[in-house]
């Protein structure tokens, strides 16, 4: 059956919309292919990794902590064991109105390591990491501020590796690699391990190699204080302060650098409800940044063309699941409108590209390459089960996007949601 604009305008409009969705999915899939091939065959950039001796700058490490008695000791002990010059390092755990034993633990460390551990206490103000960091910024010394979540355990050399890129005056932020430490706990942690591998080992490093937009992730990273102040400091209205900072720095002329070999263990969610809440928070925060900066980013004179293309694709990534669902809805509509001939072309493309694009954030071929590069071969057998994570993430993101639109209409304020901890308390 031949369709035309004159005889079937509705069908043609729906088909055009479906074609546009498929084209966008193809563009994202090609981006992931490019990243994977780049990691396998391209030139790798680690320009600052070899700086092992230098006159290291003063660094303040912020550790935002709200009810972190189970994990905070491990993080503080690791910081105190760092090989960073002791007289250049100030550790500032931020006690964000904890109601458990976190405050007492911080008191204990402050008294035992006077002058090195200087807790900052919040008793009021807005909830959330951005607000806590914003309040604590005046307690920082030196030009470099690093941020670690309380469940992170950095190795001895990590702070130097993260400080080294700041010798480049164009660098505004540095991001290290986050590696799940509780991999073996549940199926979810094992799937998240695959996802994180691909996200950092392939996606972030390829963006670094191709001089695109590596992303500051809010932890295991550092920020240049003067750059931060020049772009307005931490914004406590943002749910994804990391994405917010990445884009504000970039559109004002500072670069974010990713250092793949600066690895640090973290705890990933072990339960699906926790994971769903985490993904929803990321989706809402990311979309918030998209809404606020898309125009400024497209018109910034400091951003070149390839950064602009990659940055916009990065900003829109949490809109893709909604777009994908819209695509499937269009397929159903077109079927019942009698345009099944068109679907023969669009449906396989949509099916193939949807997972290639969204495959639980890190597309499946990126996971394969990442596992290959990391040298952990057998865990790749779990890849088919990643479909489960893909479906959960897709519906979580869609519901978060719908809720966000509803919030805009009703004027409801976004609320920060803390991720649960699982590690047994130390000491």
């Amino acid at each position: 059956m031949l369709l035309s604009w004159n005889s079937d305008p509705l069908v043609m409009i729906l088909a055009a919309a479906l074609a546009a969705i498929v084209a966008i999915m193809v563009a994202y899939a090609l981006r992931h292919f490019l990243f994977s091939l780049q990691r396998l065959f391209g030139k790798q950039r680690h320009p600052y990794l070899d700086i092992d001796v230098a006159d290291w700058p003063c660094v303040t490490v912020f550790i935002p902590a709200r009810n972190e008695e189970r994990v905070i000791r491990g993080c503080l002990d690791a910081m105190l064991d760092s090989d960073y010059p002791k007289d250049r390092l100030r550790i500032v755990p931020i006690d964000d109105r904890s109601t458990d034993g976190t405050g007492a633990i911080l008191e204990d460390y402050a008294s035992r390591y006077a002058g090195r551990v200087l807790p900052f206490r919040r008793t009021g103000g807005k909830c959330g990491k951005s607000a806590a960091l914003s309040d604590a910024l005046h307690a920082a010394v030196g030009e470099i501020v690093m941020v670690f979540d309380a469940d992170y355990v950095p190795n001895r050399g990590l702070l130097k590796q993260l400080a080294a890129p700041f010798f480049d005056p164009e660098v505004g932020a540095v991001m290290g690699r986050v590696v799940p430490g509780n991999v073996s706990r549940t199926l979810l942690t094992r799937l998240l391990d695959l996802e994180r591998s691909a996200g950092y080992q392939v996606d972030q490093q390829a963006r670094m190699n191709l001089r695109l937009v590596p992303q500051y992730g809010g932890t295991v990273g550092g920020i240049r204080r003067s750059a931060m102040e020049a772009v307005g400091g931490w914004d406590d209205t943002m749910l994804a302060e990391d994405t917010d900072i990445t884009f504000r720095l970039l559109l004002n002329g500072w670069k974010t650098v990713y250092t793949n070999r600066s690895e640090c263990h973290e705890e990933v969610p072990e339960e699906w409800p926790v994971r769903v809440r985490q993904v929803k928070r990321w989706a809402r925060g990311h979309n918030q940044v998209l809404w606020r900066y898309w125009y400024a980013f497209l018109t910034s004179r400091f951003v070149d063309l390839r950064e602009r293309v990659d940055g916009i694709m990065l900003l829109c990534v949490f809109l893709m699941p909604s777009l994908l669902l819209a695509g499937w809805l269009l397929v159903v509509c077109l079927y019942f409108l009698g345009a099944s001939a068109l679907l023969l072309f669009f449906m396989p493309a949509l099916a193939l590209m949807s997972y290639a694009t969204l495959g639980n954030f890190a597309a499946f071929f990126e996971i394969v390459i990442a596992v290959l590069l990391d040298g952990n071969r057998a865990r790749i057998r779990l890849l088919p089960l990643n479909l489960l994570g893909f479906i959960v993430s897709m519906f979580s993101i869609c519901s978060a996007t719908v809720a966000q639109v509803a919030d805009r209409v009703t004027g409801r304020v976004l609320v920060w949601d803390k991720t649960a901890r699982y590690r047994a308390a130390k000491g």
Partner: protein, 333 residues
């Protein structure tokens, strides 16, 4: 039940079976994990220049190596060759296993070693080669045309003669080629100005300036602050910069110029004769360092890192010089 229906059931079953094939290993790996350890995150090997020497020294403490074999056996034995006192070798030697000396070590020309460790000083004759690492607690001297692959480090002065090639050198003082005491660096003089007085340069934040396109800093001028250049940067002779500089395409630090911070570049950095850079020198392509230039200071060691590093006679560096691909000492004479 028709034949067509049976075919349909068969086709559906076959399709489902094909889809289930990849789930079998997935299920087995989930039920009985064989690869579920977290990725290791130790980074000591990268951060510590003498990591391999230190690790080997620790491993020696845990075992008792046999007495040193005769020289003719060095090329065959796989056990560490341990000398309890200083050694001078008058003939060419090849050692397959690490050689450890409690004292000084002096090898004749053309020696080939995998690894060398001495509690005193080490001197390798011309055209010697070390393929893994070499460390001396005292001084280390590599005579002409030596090859030091991987890591070379020492606790005092590391003298690298002309014609040598290297990868990663680390010492409080690294002296390249013949030193000419007549070549003196001029002390910075004159009042400092803001970068914003230079054409193309705008202020981006307190102490940070940015130039779109190429940029030249005038000779014998002085500037405070850090500068980012999107093109190439030419720092004039005798110019002083109290801050860091970065250029995307290339940097030339003019003769006798002085940079009190770091120099970073996505292209090539050329440090001309008698110039001085106090902070790290980081190039994503190559670094050229001319005669009489100095990088870092005795009390402020630093790092030079690039794909290739070409160093002229008479250069002094303090800290680490790391060529990811190859480093060469070149003599203008």
């Amino acid at each position: 039940m028709t034949i067509a229906f049976l075919w349909m059931v068969l086709l559906a079953s076959l399709g489902l079976a094909l889809l289930a094939v990849p789930l079998v290993p997935a299920w087995r790996e989930w039920a009985r994990p064989t690869d579920s350890k977290p990725l290791g995150v130790e980074s000591g090997y990268a951060a510590e220049p003498d990591f391999f020497a230190s690790r080997f020294r620790r491993s020696l403490a845990e075992c008792t190596p046999p007495p040193p074999p005769p020289l003719s056996e060095w090329g065959r034995t796989g056990m560490p060759i341990l000398f309890p006192a200083s050694v001078t070798l008058d003939e060419r030697v090849e050692a397959r296993a690490p050689v450890v000396i409690e004292g000084d070590f002096h090898a004749n020309a053309g020696g080939a070693f995998t690894a060398l460790l001495a509690s005193g000083s080490i001197r390798l004759g011309p055209r010697s080669e070390v393929t893994q690492w070499i460390h001396a607690d005292g001084a280390l001297a590599l005579d002409a045309d030596c090859v030091a692959l991987r890591r070379a480090s020492c606790g005092r002065t590391l003298a690298v003669s002309a014609g040598c090639s290297f990868e990663r050198l680390h010492a409080p003082v690294i002296a390249f080629g013949a030193q000419d005491p007549a070549v003196k660096r001029r002390a910075p003089e004159g009042a400092s100005a803001e970068f914003s007085t230079v054409r193309n340069v705008t202020r981006r934040a307190p102490g940070l300036y940015r130039a779109e396109g190429d940029c030249s800093l005038p000779e014998d001028s002085a500037f405070n602050g850090s500068l980012v250049v999107t093109g190439s940067l030419l720092i004039g002779a005798g110019c002083v910069v109290n801050g860091d500089v970065k250029a995307r395409k290339g940097v030339i630090v003019g003769p006798g110029a002085s940079i009190e911070g770091a120099v970073t570049c996505e292209g090539v950095i050329h440090i001309r004769e008698r110039a001085f850079v106090k902070g790290p020198v980081v190039a994503e392509a190559d670094v050229w360092i001319d005669c009489g230039a100095e990088v870092g200071g005795p009390t402020a060691p630093t790092t030079v890192t690039a794909e290739n590093i070409i160093v002229e006679d008479g250069v002094v560096a303090h800290g680490t010089v790391h060529a990811r691909d190859a480093g060469i000492v070149w003599s203008a004479a």
